[in-house]
């Protein structure tokens, strides 16, 4: 090796040791190995249910650009249908969880009143509600209500916990500054709770996403990703399309969590938590 070669090797090593470069290399290797394993399994098992990654990718691309001949809609419309349910259920849950969680945390009477009921409903898996909700709320509101209960409890517990963990010394400080009980609530308790609310939203998003896909498999009207996956697999036997659906669910799940993580960090910085 000449000195030039050694120099070049040094520079390469230096680049490889940078954290960002290093991490992306490891991530690429990890994903690459996953795809290779999938490929190997699909060939070795030789099952009709497991297409090769290539077949899945092909079905994925086609699902976006072509109208599905059996469902009459594209993947975009399925995504839209799922996201719409997701957002509606989420907004409903927020609208109830924020006032309820704040009230439960701040008022002892309200806590005693509401907590037993919450504790009874909390352990019920959201999916267990599907049959009842389909019967009561029918096919449009049913799946939305499943999201609603799925998201409600993580939101509620985080907000309640946030109010409970307000540093008493901050309330003392506000009182010595002349704050009324209402002002302590609006200017100390509420802002203190915001980062907890953000954590609740992030956790709720993960749970809500699982709920909507599951709920759509059981009863749905007008498309949706869960419905898409189930129909392709069990009704039509188009397993490459089923895998395309799985990939879409995974990517959207990653995206929502990633966006939320970012928003949570931004909020924490704004709220003075490093």
């Amino acid at each position: 090796m000449t000195e030039d070669d050694i120099d070049r090797l040094d520079k390469t090593m230096e680049l490889l040791n940078k954290p960002l470069v290093k991490n992306s290399i490891v991530t690429t290797i990890s994903l690459g190995m996953f795809i290779l394993t999938w490929w190997a399994v699909s060939i070795l098992a030789n099952l009709v249910y497991i297409p090769t990654p290539w077949e899945a990718l092909d079905a994925l691309v086609r699902s976006f650009v072509e109208v599905d001949p059996n469902l009459g809609i594209t993947m975009w419309q399925n995504i839209y249908a799922s996201l719409r349910r997701f957002v509606m259920g989420f907004v409903l849950a927020l609208a109830l969880a924020i006032p309820l969680g704040l009230a439960m945390g701040y008022s002892k009477t309200f806590e005693l009143l509401a907590k037993p009921v919450v504790e009874v409903f909390r352990p019920i898996p959201p999916i267990a509600w599907v049959p009842l909700f389909i019967l009561v709320f029918a096919y449009f509101w049913g799946p939305i209500m499943v999201i609603f209960v799925g998201v409600l409890f993580p939101l509620l517990s985080n907000i309640y916990f946030g109010v409970k963990s307000v540093d008493p010394i901050l309330m003392d400080a506000a009182r010595t500054q002349g704050a009324s009980r209402l002002q302590i609530f609006t200017k100390v308790v509420f802002p203190y709770t915001i980062p907890f609310l953000m954590t609740g939203i992030r956790i709720g998003m993960g749970i809500g996403w699982m709920c909507i896909v599951a709920a759509e498999m059981i009863g749905v009207q007008g498309g949706g990703l869960g419905y898409y996956i189930l129909t392709q697999a069990l009704t039509l036997g188009l397993y490459d399309r089923m895998f395309a659906g799985l990939i879409v669910v995974a990517v959207l799940g990653l995206l929502t969590t990633g966006i939320m993580q970012y928003l949570e960090n931004v909020t924490n910085r704004r709220m003075g938590i490093r």
Binding site: D167, I169, L170, D172, A173, A174, R175, T176, Q177, G178, A179, S180, Q183, K187, V188, P191, Y192, I194, R270, M271, G272, I273, R274
Partner: protein
């Protein structure tokens, strides 16, 4: 006389009878005076300050501020906490403005009125920083500015420099004396450091062990700034330390 504490008692109920934390505590504080309350840990000195602030209620006795009996917390008494107790989501300026905001003072006026207190504590240039970006000493400067911005009749300080390192602590003591001489505020300052009390106070009130009452009162007439290395400083320090030590022995 700006503050009168008469026959103060604080006790907590126990299974049998009561635990008396403070008893027979009487204290008069003059306008503009700097009083240090000094005592062994667990002697209830913080409780006394919290009662004056209205954050806790006494079992017996009366506290008069400018002749009027106090009940509950109010902005006429500014409090500075050992833990700083700043609102982490508010910038320096908005922490200092907090009291005026509660009173509904318009934003423009809040800004001009708090500006001078931010200057006074030496924090200009840091108005838009969040507390987590500040050092301990700077955080407590915010705490002092926030308490003063309400223009209280009296400043209550609960071991305000207890969480600071020795060097910062000495600097902050010096700064506090400057702020005190500029604002002419009456100060009640809680500490367990004899050194700190001797450096700061016009009067040192030494507390006894539980049930706490006033043990001994020292008028310190030395001019400021005081020299911690002077013989009379050292002699009085030794005397008070011995007194505190004997109380700890009794307690154990």
């Amino acid at each position: 006389m700006i503050l009168e504490i008469k026959d103060l008692k604080k006790s907590f109920p126990k299974k049998k009878g009561e635990m008396v934390a403070i008893a027979d505590f009487d204290l008069d504080v003059d306008e503009g005076e700097f009083v240090c309350i000094l005592g062994p840990s667990g002697c209830g000195k913080t409780t006394i300050l919290r009662i004056i602030a209205g954050l806790e209620t006494q079992t017996r006795g009366r506290i008069l501020l400018n002749g009027k009996e106090i009940s509950g917390p109010g902005s006429d008494r500014g409090m500075v906490f050992q833990e700083f107790a700043l609102f982490p989501w508010r910038t320096v300026r908005r922490n200092v403005e907090f009291g005026l905001e509660l009173k509904g003072v318009p934003a423009e006026e809040r800004r001009t009125r708090t500006e001078k207190f931010i200057d006074l504590v030496g924090l200009n240039g840091f108005e838009d920083y969040h507390p987590y970006q500040l050092s301990g000493g700077m955080k407590q400067r915010v705490g002092i500015a926030r308490a003063l911005a309400n223009e209280p009749a009296i400043l209550l300080m609960d071991e305000p420099f207890g969480a600071l390192d020795a060097q910062t602590r000495n600097l902050m003591q010096k700064e506090l004396l400057r702020i005190w001489s500029e604002t002419k505020k009456t100060v009640i300052f809680i500490t367990h450091s004899v050194d700190e009390a001797l450096y700061l106070a016009d009067r040192i009130v030494v507390m006894t062990a539980r049930p706490s009452s006033i043990g001994q009162v020292y008028e310190i007439k030395w001019p400021r700034p005081r020299d911690r290395a002077s013989p009379e400083f050292a002699a009085l320090r030794k005397q008070i330390l011995a007194q505190l030590e004997s109380m700890v022995m009794v307690e154990e």
